[in-house]
């Protein structure tokens, strides 16, 4: 199998706390990988290393087989990694178009913004991707009044706009309604159909099981095990998750 992302022997500590210990993690081409684990298992730390936000203390990261040194957020993006963060990473007091282009505003070489282009693109995305038709919302709307699902929609649309190869979704269903959650899971299936790959992190085992090709279980900073979803039933996976949380071992 071709791997888009390979991480080997990744360790990361914050002061006294060792968040990740010698973790191997990989994502294959056109593969949806579910990342499961209890609170504090190290899921968020792992994905923030992939996105270049944290540097690992040790270990190796390869994109398409090529080792990458000193990964930063802009570097990870250039490699096609787009992230929908648990925190959404939006700026509530700013307009929709500023949020869509947050941190990578369209500009000329001198840094002068192309405001008209960004607003037009936002308008197009609103109709094509987010399905907004109401005239009450436009690119100049400030997003503080948006619902949780609408904000999530902004974060997802943003990730897609920049032609992601690998989409990382960190607890994307948090705070969403049932309907919004179903939309989100369909969105993950769309990623698969488009031939891209994704890392999907969620507390809800059922959500992860229903969309992932492979599930990786993280426990106290280490990989406890991994399963192809076609080889394991949802109930078995659930049992193993409980056992890991209690005993630290899958069996």
């Amino acid at each position: 199998m071709d791997y888009i992302l390979e991480m080997k022997g990744i360790s990361k500590s914050f002061g006294e706390v060792q968040s990740l210990r010698n973790v191997d993690f990989r994502v294959g081409a056109n593969e949806i990988v579910g990342l499961l684990g209890d609170n504090g298992a190290g899921k968020s730390t792992l994905i923030k290393i992939i996105t270049g936000y944290y540097r690992p203390d040790s270990g190796e990261i390869l994109f398409r087989g090529q080792p990458v040194e000193n990964l930063t957020v802009p570097k990870a993006r250039a490699l096609g990694v787009e992230t929908v963060y648990q925190e959404r990473a939006l700026a509530d007091l700013q307009t929709l178009w500023r949020n869509i282009f947050l941190g990578r505003e369209l500009s000329n070489r001198l840094g002068v913004l192309q405001v008209k282009r960004m607003k037009d693109e936002t308008q197009r995305l609103m109709v094509d991707q987010m399905g907004y038709t109401s005239s009450a919302v436009n690119p100049d709307s400030v997003i503080k009044t948006f619902s949780g699902g609408e904000k999530q929609g902004v974060a997802i649309t943003r990730a897609l706009y920049f032609h992601a190869e690998l989409v990382i979704l960190d607890e994307p269903t948090m705070g969403l309604s049932l309907h919004e959650t179903r939309k989100l899971l369909n969105f993950v299936r769309d990623i698969k159909e488009a031939g891209k790959c994704a890392v999907f992190i969620d507390h809800n085992v059922f959500h992860v099981y229903s969309v992932a090709d492979r599930v990786v279980v993280l426990d106290r900073g280490q990989i406890a095990g991994e399963f192809l979803t076609k080889d394991i039933t949802h109930d078995d996976l659930m049992d193993k998750m409980y056992r890991v949380a209690q005993t630290g071992s899958l069996d």
């Binding site: 993006r77 500023r98 503080k144």
Partner: protein
């Protein structure tokens, strides 16, 4: 019947567009309303003064001394920081101006050296705040005292006459009376306002300024270079402070080593009155610009109206407190 429906729809759309314009520009409309209200009050209460041109010439003369600093300071405050040291940077800039002139006998070199020194001193503020992680409020109280102290040690209380700048290009360009009436410094203040407006609204630096003040964690996650942006904003205030110091000193023909003292409250009051949130994330250049002239008019206004000058500080204090409290109130209602 059909005709009525056809008529009412564009009207409704127009009304909706008007509503959105009002919501989007509420702060700016508000500050212009405040300005007109206070203006009317002064015209009624002291028509002798406020219906004659002299008062307006006086405002255009003295407000730019610190108004040019309030404009970039607005960006620092939008980013969630603050700078209290600019009043000392004004004096540092003039010390450098004088020393450079003494050495090279060139006003051009002195001018450039002064601006560069302002940039560097401002950048140092930024480095202290960002790299050492000291809250800007505390860090810039420290640097305010430090740089004032440096000026006092070097100058030992001595001022300098600047009559040597008589009939020079530099003084003519910076502070002469254009058309015999309009002080050049107010034109410079307009130019600085346009430049800062452009940076804030049409440049990446400004986009990142809003993001950092709004949600620093989001800005970091999305790859904004938070530290560099904040440091650069402090440096811009430094340049503006040196510029303001030069304008003031050339205009009054004298460099006083206590240059800048007395401008701290007016400058901050103008920014906050102009609608910039002390919590960061929102604020406009138009608001600060108008705020500067309102604050500038208050002292002559209350004296012309018949109150004593003892009222000035009370009213400045009231303005700062009320405008900051209004933001806290609006913010709480939003949550």
């Amino acid at each position: 019947m059909t005709a009525r429906v056809e008529n009412s729809k564009p009207e409704r759309v127009r009304l909706a567009a008007l509503m959105q314009f009002a919501r989007k520009n509420g702060l700016q409309i508000g500050i212009i309303g405040v300005m007109l209200g206070i203006w009317l009050l002064f015209i009624i209460g002291a028509s002798d003064t406020f219906l004659k041109p002299d008062i307006y010439r006086a405002l255009m003369t003295s407000v730019p001394y610190w108004g040019v600093i309030a404009l970039p300071l607005t960006m620092v405050i939008i980013a969630g920081d603050i700078d209290l040291s600019f009043i000392s940077i004004m004096a540092v800039g003039m010390v450098v101006f004088w020393e450079a002139y003494e050495t090279t006998s060139s006003l051009g070199v002195a001018f450039a050296a002064s601006l560069v020194s302002g940039f560097l001193v401002g950048l140092l503020n930024g480095i202290i705040v960002v790299r050492l992680g000291i809250p800007a409020l505390i860090a810039t109280i420290g640097t305010q005292f430090f740089w004032r102290g440096v000026v006092e040690v070097i100058r030992r209380g001595q001022g300098e006459s600047l009559t040597l700048a008589r009939d020079t290009v530099l003084r003519d360009v910076l502070v002469s009376k254009v058309g015999g009436y309009v002080p050049a410094q107010v034109i410079w203040m307009v130019l600085v306002a346009l430049a800062v407006w452009f940076l804030l609204n049409r440049h990446k630096l400004g986009a990142h300024t809003y993001l950092i003040g709004d949600n620093e964690a989001s800005a970091r996650l999305m790859g904004v270079n938070v530290g560099r942006t904040r440091m650069l904003l402090f440096a811009l205030v430094g340049v503006a402070a040196a510029f303001g110091g030069i304008i003031q000193s050339l205009d009054v023909w004298y460099f006083w080593p206590n240059l800048g003292e007395g401008y701290l409250m007016t400058t901050l009051a103008a920014v906050f009155l102009g609608g910039t949130s002390v919590f960061g994330g929102t604020g406009t250049i138009l608001g600060t610009f108008v705020g500067c002239f309102i604050i500038g008019a208050i002292q002559p206004g209350i004296i012309a109206i018949g109150l004593t000058g003892y009222w000035t500080k009370l009213i400045y204090g009231l303005i700062i407190t009320v405008s900051v409290a209004m933001h806290a109130f609006v913010r709480r209602r939003m949550e």
